[in-house]
């Protein structure tokens, strides 16, 4: 098959009954500015780590909002905390703090499961 460089998106649904808001709640509680995120992707565009490897900060935000927190732990560890995203964020979100909160909460959630 010929590759066009793009493809169709698989249909997907989010089951609200199983929506995992634990992480989102905690992040919003500690860093309310995260509620303002509109997923513009400014953070990803400037990201030092994203420039180096395959890493997408905007995606992380989306995943948490959708409650899809599996696999987040390995992804978030790629962040180098350089802080450029704070400076470019048009919504004034303390992104570094959000990242640290996610890291911390992921450990807690993992412990709860065990």
């Amino acid at each position: 098959m010929k590759k066009f460089g793009f493809s169709t998106i698989n249909s997907r649904t989010i089951d609200y009954q199983q929506f995992d808001t634990r992480l989102l709640d905690k992040v919003l509680q500690e860093e309310p500015s995260f509620a303002r995120c509109m997923s513009c992707g400014g953070c990803t565009a400037t990201c030092s780590a994203g420039n180096l490897i395959d890493f997408n900060v905007r995606m992380l935000g989306l995943l948490i909002k959708r409650g899809e927190i599996e696999g987040l732990a390995t992804e978030i560890d790629k962040c180098m905390l350089c802080g450029k995203c704070i400076l470019v964020c048009p919504r004034g979100i303390n992104t570094r703090h959000v990242i640290m909160l996610i890291k911390k909460e992921m450990v807690k959630l993992k412990l709860e499961q065990v």
């Binding site: 400037t46 030092s48 490897i53 180098m80 640290m100």
Partner: protein, 607 residues
């Protein structure tokens, strides 16, 4: 024989004090670890010990650094500490000469005027009487200041003082009562037995005219004994524990013991050496944004009580202004960093994605830093300067490179940072460069302190620019423009680089002197060390700093840090430039000058 049982509260308090101090000290010294204990033994007979004795005298008794902060505050502390010390020493000497032996129960010296009412002459007895009264007056004068400080702290140069807890209040009340009781007890006794000096005798005679001293004088001695005992028993559980701990701290410090990357016995000693004087409150700029619970004195207190919270620990810009002001000399930045390391240990992770890339050979490496990529005028200026000076350089992070690691370390993620450090070090050494030029003070500091780069000199671009100018490799055009220079925290207080940037700037314009500069420079509020602060709070602090700059009416504000530049530019009232831009402005490129200028301007519009 006179009644002696009233001395019991004093003796009991003294024993409690002694036992608790010995217990606490031994625990801390045990927690220091084998290596540090060996260090103590090794350095016991060295200059360090003599320096410590001198320092204990100057800082612990005279309070030299408090004097530098404010004369009145210094006098208050000196009169209480040095005065009390003299009272004890002279009191024991007096007792020694009276008995002609040193073999007497120690409490007899404390209550000398009670036990010795015979007016019997001995060596220098009148001198001693005078001296003891004089010292008591000295202490009481300081104590009156302490009372007055509670009403009006402004004349002591303090805007804020520490909030006290129960044990502190108990000890403080006892301390405030000790010397009035002693004065009354000695005066009353003098009124009856005529054994007082110029102060107590005069007061005693006066009291005798309207008070039944015979019935009162014993209860004043009992009161004196009780408040002394209370103070000593409360001391190890209150802020006054700093008195013995500071001495221990000074000795350990001079024997070469420092904080490592974890909290150990030495951290405990430093934390307990904190006198909670509150001198660190006023320099803290966070108070402007109404953040009043995170200042060092409270952080240390929460640590000591083993209940430190994230909202305190991570809400600090680590600008180092409090460390500069601290009269005890506690290594506050390290202490906070250690606490952060321990707090985030569970998710201090590895960067296994870092891969080796090819490294070009060069004489000089230029590492702009993440932040400099957000202020492209700086890196443009630096490349212009490198090209003009014909330097063989490699722009290490022009396309992509890992971060220097410092932002991770500021958040406590030391293990993670070490991976970045190892990866970057490998590249730097492989390039065979002799010099590493860094545009960002945050990067500069970590390259200097935490990287092992044999044969490579790390320089901040302000130092490097000065070298190029002195070597005549850059054109210097003196302008009439006035400027103020902002010391970035990590370059100034962090790395003690104050003069080089100023010398560079003096070549290009008129540098104005300011009140809060060098060690006292304020933080721009952009610091990456603060994880908690909101943008609104940052702008309050930034505005305060900016207003101060503007009050000097400069044509431009110059700094040497991309993050400071970015932060100040946000509240833009005067042109904000990096030192590299000022230097690069004097370089006129002959080929296609118009296009070059256009390019720079365009960049500034874009970012």
């Amino acid at each position: 024989m006179k009644i002696e049982w009233f001395t019991f509260p004093f003796v009991a308090g003294f024993i409690i004090l002694l036992v608790v101090i010995i217990a606490k000290f031994s625990r801390w010294i045990f927690q220091l670890g084998q290596k540090n204990r060996l260090k103590i033994i090794k350095n016991f007979f060295s200059m360090g010990t003599l320096i410590s004795v001198k320092e204990s005298f100057l800082e612990g008794l005279i309070h030299r650094k408090v004097h530098q902060k404010n004369r009145l505050l210094g006098y208050m502390h000196m009169s209480l500490a040095f005065g009390w010390f003299l009272l004890i020493v002279v009191g024991h000497l007096e007792m020694g000469f009276y008995k002609e032996t040193l073999n007497f129960p120690f409490y007899k010296a404390v209550f000398f005027r009670y036990f010795n009412t015979s007016n019997q002459q001995f060596f220098f007895s009148e001198g001693f009487t005078f001296l003891m009264d004089f010292i008591l007056l000295f202490i009481i004068s300081g104590l009156s200041l302490a009372y007055y400080k509670r009403i009006n702290k402004k004349i002591f140069g303090l805007k804020r003082t520490t909030k006290l807890k129960l044990a502190d209040q108990l000890a403080l009340s006892a301390l405030w009562l000790i010397f009035p009781f002693r004065f009354l007890a000695e005066s009353f006794t003098a009124g009856i037995y005529h054994n007082g000096g110029f102060l107590t005798q005069t007061a005693g005679n006066l009291f005798a005219t309207f008070l039944p001293l015979d019935t009162l004088y014993f209860s004043t001695w009992l009161g004196y004994s009780i408040v002394l005992g209370c103070f000593m028993a409360a001391l190890p559980f209150s802020r006054y524990m700093h008195i013995p701990t500071e001495i221990l701290f000074i000795f350990l410090k001079n024997w070469g013991i420092t904080q490592n990357e974890k909290t150990d016995g030495f951290t405990q000693i430093e934390a307990n050496a904190c006198s909670r004087c509150g001198i660190c409150l006023d320099p803290c700029q966070l108070t402007l944004a109404n953040i009043n619970h995170v200042q060092t004195v409270y952080t240390i207190r929460e640590f000591r009580e083993n209940r430190i919270e994230d909202s305190n620990l991570f809400n600090c810009m680590m600008c180092g202004r409090c460390e500069e002001a601290c009269p005890v000399g506690i290594d506050i930045m390290k202490l906070r960093t250690n606490l952060r390391i321990e707090n985030t240990k569970q998710y201090d992770v590895a960067y296994d994605y870092l891969t080796e890339t090819s490294t070009p050979k060069a004489e000089v490496i230029y590492f702009a830093g993440c932040m400099t990529h957000l202020t492209p005028a700086i890196k443009k200026s630096m490349t212009k300067i490198f090209n003009h000076a014909k330097v063989d350089y490699w722009f290490m992070d022009e396309e992509k490179a890992p971060c220097c690691g410092k932002p991770l370390m500021q958040a406590g993620q030391y293990e993670a940072a070490r991976q970045l450090i190892a990866s970057n070090s490998k590249q730097i050494i492989a390039s065979g460069a002799k010099e590493l030029i860094v545009s960002c003070p945050i990067c500069y500091r970590v390259f200097n302190e935490d990287y092992q780069l044999p044969g490579v000199t790390v320089k901040h671009h302000s130092q490097y620019l000065l070298e190029l100018i002195n070597a005549g490799k850059l054109p210097v055009i003196q302008q009439n423009e006035t400027m103020v220079y902002h010391d970035p925290c990590d370059l100034g207080r962090g790395s003690k680089i104050y003069d080089e940037p100023r010398e560079v700037l003096r070549h290009y314009g008129k540098l104005l002197e300011m009140e809060n500069e060098r060690e006292n420079a304020k933080c721009c509020s952009g610091s990456l060390s603060n994880m908690k602060i909101s943008n609104a709070e940052r702008s309050i602090i930034c505005k305060d700093v900016m207003d101060e700059f503007i009050s000097y009416k400069p044509d431009q504000l110059v700094t040497a840090c991309p993050l400071c530049k970015k932060t100040f530019a946000a509240g833009n009232k005067i042109p904000v430039k990096d030192i590299a831009e000022v230097v690069a402005n004097s370089i006129h490129v002959n080929q296609k000058p118009k296009e070059k200028v256009h390019e720079l301007e365009l960049d500034e519009v874009l970012y």
